[in-house]
């Protein structure tokens, strides 16, 4: 568990650009092997280039990777909820059923924290720029607006994003509480 935690926390402690580069390199491996003559990986390589890199699925993968540390820490926190664990274990539950009951019992906190970690990961510019810059997400749009038109239009876009995310967070909090 400790080793797994170390791996899952990596996206939180290394620069997002490094995560983007490593993701790109990992997903480019099938193509490299295909070019080297490993024919079985050619289908995977074409799938990756057609559906992952700079595609909506790529955005989702990048967000999932960047949300991993927060999501895992929430998950880990739920598992360390000793009082709830003591209660359910004393009722006779163990193993996966115990885990399920713990997560369901702490569903509001767990679900809202997961939602917020995903919303947060949406703004990880570095990894998205390198691994999945298309379709354009809000953070990349704001960055490009600033590069091309200057700070004025970027401020407008930033305020719009803040309003949208605040509304989403409010709805999520109300719905989950």
């Amino acid at each position: 568990m400790g080793a797994l935690a170390q791996v899952l926390y990596i996206p939180a402690v290394v620069p997002p650009t490094s995560v983007g580069v490593l993701l790109l390199a990992s997903f480019s491996l099938p193509r490299l092997f295909c070019e080297e003559g490993v024919a079985t990986l050619c289908a995977l390589a074409s799938f990756v280039s057609e559906y992952v890199i700079n595609k909506p699925l790529g955005v989702l993968i990048a967000m999932a990777v960047m949300a991993l540390p927060t999501s895992f820490s929430i998950f880990d926190g739920a598992l360390r909820e000793e009082r709830a664990e003591a209660f359910f274990r004393a009722l006779g539950f163990s193993g996966l059923r115990l885990l399920l009951l713990l997560l369901l019992s702490l569903r509001s906190a767990t679900a809202s924290a997961l939602v917020f970690s995903w919303i947060r990961s949406f703004g990880e510019l570095g990894v998205l720029l390198i691994f999945a810059s298309y379709p354009m997400t809000a953070s990349i749009y704001i960055y490009q607006a600033w590069l091309i038109y200057g700070v004025g239009p970027a401020v407008g876009a930033s305020l719009a994003v803040i309003a949208a995310v605040a509304a989403l967070a409010f709805v999520a909090r109300r719905w989950l509480s």
Binding site: A84, A86, G92, S94
Partner: protein
């Protein structure tokens, strides 16, 4: 013997055949004692429950229901949760009776929005349906209003089973328990039986429990 950090709880012998209350100040070791008996923390020595040594068994196999001061949220709709527990212990036929006894019929279709007191009654219902051979209760009424507290304690008194009941309140202990033990510094100082006949003695015990604060 059990440890929590540098704090040590050492109990030579504690026999629970009826409702036994442990009274003590914050930090006296009451919860640590219950955790050790429940198997939540490691302990040295023997815990005998249901006529067998359960010291080496995990909490889920000890047959000791553990109701705590802060109730756990039901993981799903109350009726589904209770049936899930009942099914696991072949107690489906007892669900209605337990629900009626605790007066929680109106909570059955609820999933969230339960008050702390209502959650505690649901926790007790689940504990009853787990068919334990004894109960461990750690300040179970500390968040309950007077009426729910009385309902809860009346059920505890009527259980007819061994209950180790921790409370801060000597008067609650007198209401619910047949034996009252005072705990301090990780030790059980003394236990008093037959509370009605020895009420004065209990008052003295309660007084000694508070006197270090004066």
């Amino acid at each position: 013997m059990a440890r929590r950090g540098s704090f040590v709880v050492r109990v030579d012998r504690l026999e629970v055949n009826s409702v036994v209350s442990i009274v003590g100040r914050n930090g006296s070791g009451k919860t640590t004692l219950l955790d050790a008996i429940a198997g939540v923390i490691k302990a040295e020595g023997r815990v005998v429950a249901c006529g067998r040594d359960v010291s080496r068994l995990p909490p889920e196999r000890r047959g000791l229901a553990y109701v705590q001061s802060v109730p756990v949220d039901p993981p799903t709709r109350v009726d589904r949760f209770l049936r899930m527990v009942a099914r696991m212990h072949s107690a489906e036929a007892e669900v209605e009776e337990v629900v009626r006894r605790l007066g929680i019929e109106t909570l059955l279709s609820r999933r969230s929005g339960l008050s702390t007191g209502q959650k505690q009654l649901v926790n007790l219902a689940a504990a009853l349906l787990a068919r334990p051979c004894a109960f461990l209760m750690d300040e179970p009424t500390s968040h309950l209003d007077w009426l729910n507290k009385k309902t809860f304690n009346d059920v505890v008194k009527a259980l007819g089973m061994p209950v180790l009941y921790v409370t801060h309140d000597p008067f609650e202990a007198m209401y619910v328990a047949d034996v009252i033990c005072v705990m301090e510094g990780g030790r059980i100082l003394r236990c008093v039986r037959e509370r009605r006949e020895e009420l004065e003695q209990v008052y003295k015990v309660a007084e000694s429990f508070w006197s270090p604060l004066r």
